[in-house]
């Protein structure tokens, strides 16, 4: 009887302590907000973007470094936000969504990608045209 009580109490104590530890992790994540945007915050940046229609295809350019893990995450998130339009990770489309993290559009990045500004929605989101030059 004693052994059985001991093992059940041990299982319960470890389960509760582990859950509590994990809960502290969540509270820590909430308290010390990481610099990476959450999905809802990222989505809010697109609030002024025209409602995407099916069969629309946009290119996508970002000022994130290519090896930055946030780069792919934000590209996928842009697709999630703008569905049912298709977002291609390329500047070779007539219209290109630019996702930037600076105060203003980086004109050098646009030049390098042969893009002309079309509409800057603020919040780090802009729509650009493929340059005709």
């Amino acid at each position: 009887l004693g052994r059985q009580k001991f093992v059940v109490l041990l299982l319960g104590a470890i389960a509760l302590a582990s859950s509590f530890w994990f809960l502290l992790d969540i509270v820590g994540a909430v308290a010390h907000r990481s610099p990476v945007l959450r999905v809802a915050e990222f989505e809010d940046r697109f609030v002024d973007f025209p409602k995407p229609e099916p069969h629309m295809v946009y290119g996508y350019v970002s000022d994130n470094a290519p090896n930055d893990p946030r780069s792919l995450w934000e590209y996928h998130l842009t697709q999630y936000v703008l569905a049912p339009a298709i977002i291609k990770d390329s500047a070779n489309e007539p219209l290109v969504v630019v996702n930037y993290h600076t105060k203003g559009l980086d004109l050098r990045m646009l030049r390098n990608n042969h893009l002309d500004p079309f509409h800057d929605f603020g919040n780090g989101v802009a729509l650009c045209r493929r340059s005709q030059r």
């Binding site: 059985q4 009580k5 389960a15 859950s19 999905v39 996928h76 999630y80 298709i86 977002i87």
Partner: protein, 494 residues
């Protein structure tokens, strides 16, 4: 409106399982079991109806809403108007549950609830695997209207386009009928699957091994932080774990009630819905069929092989037909097919990849569930401390009636895991990363069913002294079969 829609889906599931296993209304273990099974049954049926309606008639609400109403009405009519009587589940006789175990269970439940709510309030869209696969697909199904097949455009091939549609269909159905894309739909679905998994585990163990063991198993599941975290992450792993657990649980009940083959039919349906949830579910469904046949052969129940196999197949038929339709008519070919044979052969013969896999799996096992002490060690200690002495060889006699189901579980669950691991070794370009990100999720899919099999195979728990037991509980209340009761009474006297 989202919650109303989900309530209707749950009721449809309840009607269907109640039709199979009728029982007078009111508070009973049987009805808890039915309500738990109803979560996955209703969700599976509703998602199949949505997908077929979309495929055959397009995305119009004018067709979807009546189709769902008809399904709910038929299911409820079947469930509540049936005059049949059938097998009923009752609490297995066991010593009373000690107060400290109730407190531990309630504390684990409260912590799990707080964890779930904190996680979904912090990020209601779930983790990347949820929004970039399931909810992205649901958004396409709802937003693209008649162009819903754009959800499977080759430009989205990073989004696992060949994954089945149970979850996206369910979320899209709720969004479509409620006319709002609220994150409440995927969050509520995840919560229901989590609660349903707990309910199936507890109610099945309570019927087979008594309340004490059911509460210990439930406490462990609730205390598995990864399980709660993955539920809140809105991944497909917890819904899949629900179906895997339900299929195994129903086969355990089939062993207890060999004359009632409806258990096998419903187990087949659950395995079919597992295949409709994730590709790994298809591996499980096939493994289950083969393992069950082998297990019945092994325990010398050869006469039961054909009837049970046919019922399992019959149960699986409808979801598998929907899955095959999806794979043939909608989904692009699996990404595995695009990997050149030379690469597969190179990966197969690369010993380093196999070592990486085994090392990764060991690490995942040791850290599994985010327990502060590895759970494999804790469960090993549990078995050691509860081992039978020669004079009290209860476990072996107790588990005899479930040998077929336990053999099925101990074959089907590892086979499902091993097949996933082998596919990763053969096809995944970055194997270490894959194990790191999805190794634990693969184990979580099997964890509730493994817990059921573990506690069913282990020795009965005796947490209250027999004298106290006799004083506090008059005997002879249960309506279980006599033979089973006598077996438990053997356990209680030790």
């Amino acid at each position: 409106m989202t919650l109303l829609c989900l309530a209707a889906i749950w009721l449809a599931g309840f009607g269907l399982v109640r039709w199979l296993f009728p029982r007078p209304r009111g508070w009973s273990l049987h009805n808890i079991w039915l309500f738990s099974l109803a979560v996955g049954t209703g969700a599976g049926v509703a998602s199949c109806v949505y997908f077929l309606a979309l495929l055959l008639a397009g995305p119009s609400v004018a067709i979807l809403a009546p189709a769902l109403v008809v399904v709910v009405a038929i299911a409820l009519g079947l469930g509540f108007l049936t005059k049949r009587t059938g097998t009923q589940l009752d609490w297995a006789a066991s010593p009373p549950v000690p107060r400290y175990l109730r407190i531990l269970f309630l504390a684990a439940a409260a912590l799990a609830l707080v964890m779930f709510l904190s996680a979904v309030l912090y990020n209601s869209h779930g983790e990347e695997g949820a929004w970039s696969i399931w909810n992205l697909r649901a958004r396409f199904l709802v937003r693209a209207g008649t162009f819903w097949r754009l959800a499977f455009s080759s430009d989205l091939n990073w989004s696992r386009l060949d994954y089945p549609l149970l979850l996206p269909s369910l979320v899209a159905l709720c969004w479509k009928l409620s006319r709002e894309e609220s994150t409440a739909a995927p969050v509520a679905i995840a919560f229901l699957y989590g609660i349903g998994t707990l309910g199936v585990l507890i109610s099945t163990l309570a019927a087979l091994r008594g309340k004490t063991m059911a509460m210990v198993a439930g406490m462990l599941l609730l205390g598995t932080a990864s399980f709660v975290a993955l539920t809140a992450a809105l991944y497909g792993d917890v819904p899949l774990s629900f179906y895997i657990l339900s299929a195994i649980a129903l086969l355990c009940l089939q062993d207890r009630h060999p004359e009632d083959l409806r258990f096998s039919a419903l187990a087949g349906l659950m395995a079919g819905f597992a295949a409709w949830t994730r590709n790994e579910g298809l591996v499980f469904a096939i493994a289950l069929l083969l393992a069950r046949t082998f297990a019945l052969f092994l325990v010398r129940q050869r006469l039961a092989i054909v009837p049970q196999f046919l019922r399992l197949l019959a149960g699986m038929a409808a979801p598998l037909a929907v899955l095959i339709t999806f794979k043939l008519r909608v989904a692009p070919p699996s990404e595995y097919l695009s990997v050149p044979r030379a690469v597969i052969l190179k990966n197969l013969t690369d010993v380093g990849r196999w070592i990486t896999m085994i090392q990764g799996l060991m690490l995942v096992l040791l850290n599994f569930g985010r327990f502060l002490i590895p759970i494999v060690l804790l469960l090993g200690l549990y078995l050691y401390l509860l081992r039978s002495r020669p004079s009290e060889n209860v476990a072996s006699s107790e588990s005899v009636s479930y040998r077929a189901a336990l053999t099925t579980a101990w074959i089907a669950l590892p086979v499902t895991l091993v097949v996933q691991m082998v596919l990763d070794v053969l096809y995944e370009p970055n194997l270490a990363l894959e194990i790191g990100t999805s190794g634990e999720r693969s184990l979580i899919q099997l964890w509730p069913a493994a817990l059921l099999a573990f506690f069913l195979a282990s020795r009965p728990l005796q947490l209250v002294a027999p004298e106290q037991d006799r004083k506090s509980k008059p005997a002879g209340k249960s309506t279980r079969p006599k033979s089973a009761k006598s077996r438990h009474s053997v356990a209680e006297t030790h």
